[in-house]
């Protein structure tokens, strides 16, 4: 029983981690109807920059994460600059392949700069545990849960309740009409991609202390992001949050009861099942845009 509750706690932490990693994709797909297959490698870059800032620059952890976010945002902007034409044409085929290419380049650059050995990012929070009876989690885990809730709530508030959110939703609804209405669509696209880069770097800075950091990582993160985005209903902020937490609990229980090595494979089988059972639901979700 204690073990089950412990796994549930692990699952909730893991779920908030998945949701946090996926938030950039959710907005990207919901607003700009863009995809980013380099997402996993951007996560890897964010983790390495956080580690590098702490261990080589000697920055405190709370300053290292914003640095990684700035780098992520800059990279996102550069990607969007190069893909601008394909973005306006909504040429998803090209964008998919280009983002895969960006991911591959990032992997090469990271291996060149940071080397191929694994690294550990220790933070002031990750070394202190919270213990309640026989149950435990680290303060870093608690911080991940809080950060995910804050980011999701903030994003929901910005999209639903502010002028920027209204502009973004207009672009999501109909980019051409939005342009006619005098909205600088290009700036919205740039903004969305910068947010994607910063968000995934933030997630990496928060979550990477849980595992060793390797230049080859990112694949599992990207698969889990796919599952969260598809499950949550494409572009839905609240849906992604629920899907992320659900997936985390599933992954924790599956890892504990069946096999940790095949967790992402199992998550993917669930994804397949959903896609086969409701193939039409996805495009319908995309058409509705952000909500």
């Amino acid at each position: 029983m204690v073990n089950l509750i412990q796994q549930l706690i692990n699952g909730i932490v893991l779920g908030h981690a998945y949701a946090l990693v996926a938030i950039g994709w959710t907005l990207l797909l919901g607003v700009a109807r863009l995809v980013n297959f380099g997402h996993g490698q951007m996560y890897m870059l964010g983790a390495f920059i956080s580690w590098w800032a702490v261990s080589d620059l000697g920055l405190p952890y709370w300053a290292a994460v914003p640095l990684a976010m700035a780098a992520g945002a800059l990279f996102g902007l550069a990607m969007q600059r190069i893909m601008l034409r394909a973005t306006f044409e909504q040429n998803l085929v090209s964008i998919m392949i280009m983002t895969l290419g960006f991911g591959y380049v990032l992997q090469g650059v990271a291996a060149l700069v940071f080397g191929s050995t694994g690294q550990i990012l220790d933070t002031p929070l990750s070394q202190r545990d919270i213990e309640i009876g026989d149950l435990w989690l680290t303060w870093q885990d608690a911080a991940i849960v809080v950060a995910a809730i804050v980011v999701f709530a903030a994003l929901k508030w910005v999209l639903d309740g502010t002028r920027i959110g209204r502009l973004v939703r207009m672009v999501a609804e109909d980019p051409k009409l939005a342009q006619l209405a005098g909205i600088d669509v290009r700036r919205v696209y740039y903004g969305v991609f910068a947010f994607e880069g910063a968000a995934v770097a933030f997630a990496a800075g928060m979550i990477a202390p849980r595992t060793p950091i390797l230049t080859s990582m990112g694949f599992e993160e990207v698969i889990m992001t796919f599952v969260v985005v598809v499950f949550g209903g494409i572009g839905s902020i609240a849906g992604s949050y629920v899907a992320g937490v659900g997936l985390g609990i599933f992954a924790a229980l599956f890892g504990a009861l069946v096999s940790p090595a095949y967790t992402s494979a199992a998550a993917f089988l669930v994804l397949i099942a959903v896609l086969v059972l409701r193939p039409g639901g996805l495009s319908a979700g995309a058409a509705k845009g952000v909500h």
Binding site: E89, N91, V93, M98, Y104, E220, A261, S283
Partner: protein, 333 residues
């Protein structure tokens, strides 16, 4: 196209020139090794080429078919003592089985959802290959014997890359012939129509789902056959056959010269492998070069380098720069 038949007539000449190219380039072991690898990886890329260029979908799971061929060959030849013809047959049959399953599951999926699922298939395949002891786990499968295609009364074996080259080249020529036949077949025409105008295709009585599945079944054994020969060349197979490298190389091969350019994938693979084998800047920089080429071509020459040559003859630059596979989420239904 006036020069079309002329171009086709020159193909046999080009083929003979290619066959003797490694010998003229000095005939050293490294030249033959590169030539064999170019042929194998070009064949692998042609499998994806028909999906991207003709069907207009991006399968990110074709490395799985390549790996299916390689693993089937390695396992059956080392554990069951099967000969090279039998492993070729098994590779093709297994690829068809996998393609049927993946094809059925993804039948109604389009565009990025299709790509996402095929990508997930390849990521799961890496997990399986690296963890499942039956597939050799992280050690892989070692000790694949050399290629032996001997027929009764005719010895056909290849123990070195130099001896392997004629077989690799034959596989390449057969593949290019098949892709060319496919593009002039009813299925090829149907695929293009499903790709460019799904509504018209349905009105004409074409079943898009059926066409997609058939093209998938045509393409998978091609990549698997490349994996079959790759297992014999390397003599061992491990999970690194599913690395992103092969996917990125395939995609570059499909887009660099231009979609539906018969020799495009071969030319691209030859260029990339020549750079990596003879002008390497170190593994990591080579990665950056390959990835950058892929991104920059799509961003600035969406029609491929062949589109560059055709540019001045087109009336409008804006038209010419439109990629042929441009599709949007709006025309999903």
């Amino acid at each position: 196209m006036a020069n079309f038949s002329w171009r086709r007539a020159s193909l046999p000449v080009l083929a003979v020139l290619c066959l003797y190219a490694p010998a003229w380039l000095g005939g050293s072991a490294s030249v033959y090794s590169a030539a064999v690898l170019i042929a194998i990886l070009a064949v692998m890329s042609y499998g994806l080429d028909v999906i991207v260029s003709d069907l207009g979908e991006v399968s990110l799971g074709h490395t799985v078919f390549f790996a299916v061929g390689a693993y089937a060959t390695a396992l059956l030849s080392t554990r069951a003592g099967m000969g090279s013809w039998a492993t070729l047959g098994a590779s093709i049959v297994l690829a068809l089985v996998f393609a049927t399953v993946i094809g059925f599951v993804t039948l109604r999926l389009r565009e990025f959802v299709f790509s996402l699922v095929t990508y997930a298939v390849s990521v799961v395949a890496v997990t399986l290959a690296a963890n499942w002891d039956f597939l050799g786990g992280s050690d892989g499968v070692r000790g694949v014997p050399s290629l032996d295609l001997s027929l009764p009364g005719l010895a056909l074996t290849a123990r070195s890359d130099q001896e392997l080259w004629p077989y690799a080249f034959a596989l390449l020529v057969i593949t290019i012939y098949l892709v060319d036949r496919f593009r002039h077949s009813r299925l090829g025409a149907a695929a293009m129509m499903v790709h460019l105008n799904p509504r018209l295709a349905t009105i004409t009585g074409i079943d898009p789902a059926r066409v997609r599945l058939q093209v998938f079944l045509f393409s998978a054994p091609i990549s698997a056959a490349a994996g079959w020969l790759y297992a014999y060349q390397r003599a061992y197979v491990s999970a690194d056959i599913l690395e992103a490298y092969f996917l990125i190389l395939m995609l570059t091969a499909v887009v660099l010269v231009g979609r539906r350019q018969l020799l495009g994938p071969l030319v691209t693979v030859a260029l990339v492998l020549t750079q990596e084998k003879f002008f390497s800047l170190g593994g990591y920089v080579d990665k950056i070069v390959l990835g950058s080429v892929l991104v920059l071509v799509l961003a600035f020459f969406p029609q491929g380098l062949a589109g560059l040559a055709r540019l001045p003859s087109r009336p409008s630059r804006a038209r010419a720069s439109r990629p042929p596979a441009a599709t949007t989420l709006e025309n999903l239904k």
